[in-house]
Symmetry: C2
Subunit: 202 residues, 2 copies
């Protein structure tokens, strides 16, 4: 994507394929990423922060080299519909946000965003139509400086084998892995003491 | 992708495009996702958990309908190189993990995974070659049941406008948004009391 052009129809196809459906939030997110990119000088390697886990991260992942899995996109859930792109070495960049004041001109987007109508009362077509017309008009942008701690490269440190589940984990997490310390998302225990391997390796 | 075939060369092209480089973790992640999918009956709508933010989430996002932004992929950072795919309504599914015992046959993967060699001493080609030969052989798989709390649909609840930054946020977060409560990742204040709009809207 060139900095100064954003092909919305091409983007909508990609949204359908990657995100699964053309959700209003991902479409607005596309315009937001576009706006942020226009602020970053060509050639600057940038990282991204999404201030919400909803929709915005997928726009970032589709339109920039930053993904969750490569670590260049971080989600810091502040509940705000906003994102930042910033120089990955120096932390200076731009934050783009959906501006409630600017939404007043766009009642369907407003009703969707603030849940002023039930899902049944909302018209997906009308919301999308207003989003496409509004484009970056409903966004605000401002320069930001990222806190130095967030610029540090993540490093798992030493890797050990958990004495409980026999899997690799970062030693800094403690004497056993976080799952075996009680943070497992699973109801049924995967491991039984003494014969872990018999239970685990199917 | 059909459940019973996994075109590794096609996948490697997609990894380069989406993840930016052919990282060993994303390639192994591809085999892991493939293995998990073969366990899920056709037609079952599934969600995903990645137990690490590194690499694995990108494999899930490339090879399944689950993305971070659509909420079907969750990252629960337990520091383990593992993922689960599970029935999104009932929570039953399968967990796939990289098995340290099985790595003993593959010294280059082992050295990379446990950081037994410095980056300089590692051969990217050799690691990738062993990963491609090993395929799903280095993985373990077992059935899991997800805790009921994790099956609930996320709902932001009522949306309010933050009196401090004038942006929308979930009211359940408190009297102001989490960023204005002190969790902002930005060094330079974006807002100054009294003339927020002047500062924010460039």
């Amino acid at each position: 994507m060139k900095n100064n052009c954003f092909n919305i129809e091409d983007y909508l196809h990609r949204v359908k394929s990657f995100h699964g459906h053309v959700a209003p939030g991902v479409v607005i997110g596309g315009f937001m990423v576009h706006l942020a990119r226009t602020q970053i000088p060509e050639g600057v390697l940038f990282d991204a922060i999404s201030e919400t886990p909803a929709c915005v991260p997928d726009a970032v992942q589709m339109l920039t080299p930053c993904t969750i899995g490569n670590g260049w996109l971080k989600i810091i859930n502040l509940g705000r519909f906003a994102l930042s792109l910033y120089d990955k070495h120096h932390g200076n960049g731009f934050r783009v946000f959906l501006d409630p004041v600017k939404l007043e001109k766009w009642p369907e987007i407003m009703a969707w965003f603030f849940k002023l109508k039930s899902k049944k009362e909302q018209s997906h077509e009308e919301i999308l139509s207003q989003i496409k017309k509004a484009g970056v008009e409903i966004c605000g942008v401002c320069p930001v400086q990222i806190k130095p701690d967030l610029l540090k490269k993540r490093d798992k440190g030493k890797i050990a084998v958990c004495p409980s589940c026999a899997e690799a984990y970062p030693l800094r997490d403690g004497n056993m892995c976080l799952a075996c310390q009680g943070s497992s998302p699973y109801l049924i225990p995967i491991y039984t003491e003494g014969n872990a391997h018999e239970v685990k390796f199917i």
